[in-house]
């Protein structure tokens, strides 16, 4: 009779050990089944042995569900994963799926995967062929950029990281110059270094650029240009002058209403028609203009949100000090408005980075494009999975780091107020 009683503090001594035993038995069964392909309950009828872990775990969880048991770890366990029957089932399903999916993943990624070798024939195991990534790594990073000249890309990025790194440690006064250098001098210096054509550097046409470095180059330039344009558009949209206001609204809504891919199509096939016959603008520059204008429209909406959130008193106070429109915006309004919308700005920049693979439309190949090229190479057919998993991982690390950084920034700024 005692055994059918509801689990409570009185029978905790008998119920909890039995319950824990049943739960661990069910996990052990699934674990052994998944990792060693051995069915512990094989002596039972097949249908029963299939569902037995679930039934055992369910009964076990029921037995240990004792409210206010006085045992701290048991209470924490119950509260978090075992608060009622439904939650117990969800917990069991989740843990079973995780245990079940570990062995095949582990096999594919590491145990059965191939790391050594130089060609597809070296990939004899059933798992991933990481040799593919190893052999093509250079191309994935630098595109078709000549091997002998790749130090130029490396140098450009090294200077960038060095300047950014040093600027964290110098005094406020020097920091200003560092930022000015980064915004106004470095981009053009870097692009000159990479494209070459002077100072004794060999000229490398932009069609040869590619891989992850191109993702960074395009993102960096688009971020640099779309920010000021976005701010101007946002100010234009809030302007009291009707002509400027409606032109800004029209411009913003036009870009926001169409997909980036059509904008890139436009830059590739329609834009040349609008230029005098014989003028040729480099493909990369056209793409850069397209992405910049597109993202500037989104940036404008984010900045507008900040402008609208500022109390009217700020404008009135600035005007009463005798400031004109530009001085008021530059010194009073924008510094506050931009600070308010840092998360929005970060999200827009994140979207920009995630949009860069779309440049395949015009035939430029960054990381995803290079993988598309590599997987269609006759010697490396059937490597799509490895390639896209690798690219996904690289982009995920970049984007996840960016989003975490923006979340931290948001937290930091919100405590300052």
């Amino acid at each position: 009779m005692n055994l059918i009683a509801k689990p409570s503090k009185d029978n905790i001594k008998t119920y909890v050990p039995i319950g824990l035993f049943l739960v661990s038995l069910s996990f052990l069964d699934v674990f052994v089944n998944a990792f060693f392909n051995f069915n512990l309950m094989g002596f039972l009828p097949s249908q029963l042995s299939y569902f037995l872990p679930l039934i055992l775990g369910y009964i076990g969880f029921y037995l240990i569900r004792i409210e206010f048991s006085g045992v701290r770890s048991l209470d924490i366990l119950n509260k978090n994963i075992n608060s009622n029957n439904f939650n117990a089932l969800l917990t069991l399903f989740t843990i079973f799926i995780i245990i079940k999916s570990i062995p095949p993943m582990l096999d594919w990624f590491i145990l059965e995967a191939n790391f050594v070798g130089n060609s597809k024939d070296d990939c004899t195991g059933d798992g991933a062929c990481w040799v593919f990534i190893k052999v093509w790594f250079n191309r994935f990073m630098y595109g078709l950029y000549p091997d002998a000249e790749q130090w130029r890309i490396n140098t450009a990025f090294l200077i960038l990281f060095a300047v950014v790194g040093v600027s964290f440690f110098v005094s406020e006064k020097l920091k200003k110059y560092f930022i000015l250098f980064l915004v106004f001098v470095f981009p053009f210096l870097g692009i000159k270094l990479i494209s070459g054509g002077s100072f004794g550097l060999e000229y490398v046409e932009s069609a040869a650029w590619g891989g992850l470095s191109l993702t960074f180059i395009i993102s960096a330039f688009a971020i640099l240009f779309c920010f000021p344009i976005g701010v101007i558009l946002a100010l234009g949209r809030r302007s009291s002058l009707p002509a400027i206001k409606y032109i800004s609204i029209g411009f913003i809504e036009l870009w926001r209403g169409v997909p980036l891919i059509t904008v890139l199509f436009m830059s590739a096939v329609m834009f040349p028609m609008f230029l005098p016959d014989g003028t040729f603008i480099d493909k990369l520059i056209r793409v850069l203009i397209a992405i910049t204008l597109f993202e500037a429209a989104y940036m404008a909406e984010v900045v507008r949100g900040g402008l609208q959130a500022l109390p009217k008193g700020q404008y009135e106070a600035a005007k009463s000090l005798g400031m004109g429109y530009w001085r008021m915006n530059a010194l009073i309004i924008l510094p506050q408005a931009l600070k308010l919308v840092i998360p929005g700005i970060a999200n827009t920049l994140l979207a920009l980075v995630k949009d860069t693979p779309l440049i395949f439309v015009v035939g430029l190949m960054e990381l995803a494009g290079m993988i598309g090229l590599a997987k269609t190479n006759p010697k490396w057919l059937g490597m799509a999975m490895e390639g896209y998993v690798f690219a996904g991982l690289v982009f995920w690390i970049i984007c996840y780091a960016m989003s975490r950084y923006s979340q931290n920034l948001e937290k930091k700024l919100s405590t300052e107020r």
Binding site: V258, D277, A384
Partner: protein, 391 residues
């Protein structure tokens, strides 16, 4: 002195000058582009116009919801592409909403494991570019499916193969009557609900509307099956041998892998954003609201239905509208895996054949603008309906 006078006394003139300069600049840019375009088109021997839409398209489209072959016009090809875009967007929106709501609620679950799994789902799928996810599903995951002769069978009525997903085809008789009955059921449900609301607000009576609505929705169409001669039969896909090594399925409907990959990627990606909106919406309803509702004696379901959801929806809807818009625009990535949407069919193939860049790109962009604006108008209307009515 003159300048000062000018500044203060002629504010109107001061306002006019920048506007006039902006408009003039805009007009001159447009004129410059237009003249160049005219000269360029003159050189290539084409003139601006939309007459080409009536010409024969003479290319085939792999997947079409309406009758189409190469002898149809470019206008018809445009329509095929547009319908395909709408199809994949609608499928994507449907699944993204369901998944987004489930994941969003899971993130707030008091089950630690479920909340963590949902969080990682969001963090993983939100931070990988959509185009890579589409490539992954199309080039890596769906290419791993078996050939037709050993396709994965679902109870022998539906088959998943590398060439697509073959599902049974619905064959209706008297479909119109059935459709009318469904519409009648919805109208009935509307009246039942408004009656129930009135009863609740005036007399405090509770009418179980959910069960009654469900019953109406099942009963009225059922009557048409029993008495009005509506019937439904299925045409199942059957494996057919074309040559000793080539197999295919005959009958049924084939859902092409491009559509599956695109719909899968679009809904999994957008679901992460919708999940965050749902989570923010539910968190945004103050704790006091729930406590107040509980203190006047509402039960748990009533609190959710009458107090939490109406307020949460008000927070959820505007950003979710934006996600629907984004999904529709993102469906244009179809061009990357050759799903015949409007970009691939019209801005791709048709443009290559006719060379009419300006007309075709403008039509494509205008179409997306129209789609975007119509979704946002509909959602604004819905939003207004849900908004707080202050007395």
């Amino acid at each position: 002195m003159i300048f000062k006078k000018f500044n203060i006394e002629n504010k109107k003139a001061r306002d006019l000058i920048p506007q006039a300069i902006t408009i003039l600049a805009l007009i001159s840019v447009i004129i410059y582009f237009a003249t160049n375009a005219q000269i360029n088109m003159g050189n290539r021997g084409i003139s601006f116009g939309f007459g080409f839409l009536n010409q024969e398209a003479s290319f085939d489209i792999t997947f079409s919801m309406i009758e189409y072959d190469g002898s149809n016009s470019y206008g018809r090809a445009f329509l095929v592409g547009l319908l395909n875009t709408i199809l994949v967007s609608a499928i994507g929106i449907f699944f993204a909403t369901i998944m987004g709501v489930i994941v969003g609620i899971s993130r707030l679950s008091d089950n630690y494991l479920i909340a963590k799994v949902a969080e990682w789902y969001v963090e993983i799928f939100r931070n990988i570019p959509l185009i890579l996810q589409i490539f992954f599903w199309y080039f890596a995951a769906l290419r791993a499916l078996p050939l037709p002769e050993n396709g994965i069978s679902f109870y022998d009525i539906s088959f998943l193969t590398i060439k697509g997903w073959y599902v049974p085809k619905f064959i209706w008789t008297n479909f119109n009557i059935f459709l009318l009955s469904v519409m009648a059921a919805f109208i009935a449900i509307y009246f039942i609900n408004s009656y129930a609301t009135k009863q609740r607000e005036q007399f405090g009576k509770q009418i179980p509307t959910t069960i009654i609505s469900l019953a109406t929705l099942i009963l009225i169409p059922l009557i048409t099956f029993l008495f009005l001669g509506v019937s439904l039969s299925f045409e199942y896909p059957v494996l057919k041998q074309l040559s000793p090594t080539v197999f295919t399925y005959a009958g049924g409907v084939s859902i092409i892998p491009e559509l599956i990959a695109l719909a899968l990627a679009l809904s999994m990606y957008t679901a992460t954003f919708i999940a965050e909106n749902v989570r923010a919406g539910i968190l945004g309803v103050g704790k006091g609201q729930k406590e107040a509702a509980a203190s006047i004696g509402l039960n748990k379901n009533q609190i959710l239905k009458l107090v939490v959801m109406p307020q949460a929806l008000r927070i959820i809807i505007p950003p979710t509208t934006n996600q629907y818009l984004n999904l529709t625009k993102n469906s244009s990535l179809a061009a990357a895996i050759a799903y015949p949407d409007i970009v691939l069919v019209f801005a791709g193939t048709a443009l290559m054949q006719t060379g009419r860049a300006i007309e075709i790109i403008s039509i494509t962009m205008l179409t997306y603008l129209t789609l975007s604006i119509s979704i946002s108008i509909f959602m604004n209307w819905y939003n207004k309906k849900m908004a707080i009515k202050e007395k």
